[in-house]
Subunit: 184 residues, 4 copies
DNA sequence: TATGAATGAGTGTTCATTCAT
DNA sequence: CATGAATGAACACTCATTCAT
């Protein structure tokens, strides 16, 4: 029973922390987060020994959601479409959750999207897309994650609008696709 | 002429600020910068009335250097090569000056490479490369700067090594180049 | 109930602030006050968001005490005696709380004894004394407060001893009393 | 010759210091004073080893002027008029040079108007006025200076307008004058 | 257990004072 | 000798973290 309360508190704190971080950036204060979550600062410290732990938890939380999305798309009928849709959605999401990834990354936390489980989920999407001939076979996970990270970071920093996002990703996606010709 | 000392101090402060900013990110303290520069905090404040002015000065300094490089390459014989070389050099430079652009951008300063003079210099490179058939004609400045910013940001955040940088930029450059085929 | 501690701390801070202000004048530092109060500087800031708020609180505190004293004397049998006794007591008190009123006044805070409630209380004393023929009828509140303020200020600044205070106030009081002569 | 320059600089600094002190109060900065005086801060320090010495010099300067005024009035035909005129002028002057006396006094400098030479000059005015029957014989220098200081201080602090000054001084002067009656 | 008052090191910034020029 | 750049202690104030309640 007590566990239920604790879990709810944890969720409320994480939710509040995301909101406050998005709004105030890196300088968000624990008091602000606590107050939005409707708890005392002490309650946050019970769950997260230090501010950085709270940040870490947010990253993990986000990663988990992204991994879940990747898992879902892993069974989509069109592997190429699934791959590019996933890429697009992540960047789109980053634009909205502005400042967050930046804040976390700048906080010295690795947001490389390199947490094992998500890495695996993304790799599945990549391999399937390559198998379907939608992505060049010589593209590795390292480059893919680098591009994903780069576009997310920039989308957040500069608040890419939909048009810019579409046009920029079009170029990146073109670079990822196999050369149409070079036949004969 | 004390002015000589003052000028040297200004340079030392800027240098130290770049280093400390790169190391500690946005939260770098004036004291830390002063101590690395080997001057008192008051000396920084004589040149830069507020912390943000110091940041601004660094941005301007950097922009100026990038613009100068672009101007230089604007007269290179191979326009396509010049364009891609410029892109590569900037990203390479960013890797070394880790966190800096990010820190500055997050400080509310526009590091979009959008300062007029540098924008013009880059546009020249782009137009020439497009004229030489090295870059697709439908690529605009907005997308180009977005990609440049994205790769710089990511290179800094994650410390891309040479191999990763080469492989990632290869994909982006491929997306920027005209489709090789669709020929007669 | 932590509130008990908080209340005690507030009182200790106010007490310490009066002392330090009296000793160091306007330039009293928050650290000094905190240290004398035996609390951290943060504790002061919890109760008083800015230095000026602390000053204000002290002024309000003092005014309240002076108003209470005036109210008490308002029902004394001899109105003239009550009036002059009040004047004397305030100046006497000021001598002890050296520099305080001055410090507060110079801080841009109105210590003119002009806070509404105290103004009213003093006016009652004046009117009653005039009714009893102990004070000239043409003396207004403005002059009275000016004289009160003047003597308090000087008593503080220069540390009037009892003898000087008595002799100086005797002159002022003589000026306030109706001319003894001009009789039939 | 050099002496002339030095003397002129000293005068300019003192003049500037009075102005700046009147405007900015106690927190006036040496740089501000230097800049208004049209000299470097170092030049001030050559004449006045520390800020307090500058303040002291201003006090002395003022005292000298007040003493000169007293000397002048010492030979006026109507001793009583001279005495009250002097009192009024000093208070009036204080109102204009707002903040100055306060600033000086709060700086820990004794502005008691007790510097020997001025003390003597004022005493002459008092004795002559007493001799002329314009001031009670039992008024001593201590009370007189106390009243003078008190009214100056208050006039400055609260910016007495002409009306208030006149009415307040009227009361004080009445207290200083011999009782009109008490005759047989 | 949750709370929020208390803590104090740390921040950006100012300014009296010194001293190289 | 005047100058003003350099210094660094000091200031008001913030905030992550602790701990008494």
């Amino acid at each position: 029973m007590m566990r239920a309360d604790a879990r709810r508190n944890r969720a409320r704190v994480l939710e509040a922390a995301e909101v406050v971080l998005a709004r105030d950036g890196l300088s968000a204060s624990m008091r602000e987060i606590a107050s939005l979550a409707g708890v005392g600062v002490g309650t946050i410290y019970r769950q997260f020994p230090a501010k950085e732990d709270l940040y870490q938890a947010i990253v993990v939380d986000r990663m988990a959601r992204l991994a879940a999305l990747a898992d879902e798309l892993a069974t989509a009928p069109d592997a190429g479409e699934a791959f590019f849709e996933y890429f697009t959605m992540i960047v789109e999401d980053s634009t909205v959750k502005k400042v967050l990834v930046d804040a976390l990354a700048a906080a010295g936390i690795d947001a490389k999207a390199g947490t094992p489980d998500i890495r695996g989920a993304i790799e599945t999407l990549l391999v399937r897309a390559q198998g379907a001939g939608a992505v060049r076979g010589d593209v590795g996970m390292a480059e893919l994650l680098a591009l994903l990270s780069a576009t997310c970071l920039a989308a957040q920093h500069h608040g890419w609008d939909e048009d810019l996002r579409t046009r920029t990703l079009a170029i990146v996606f073109d670079g990822l696709r196999p050369s149409p010709a070079t036949p004969a």
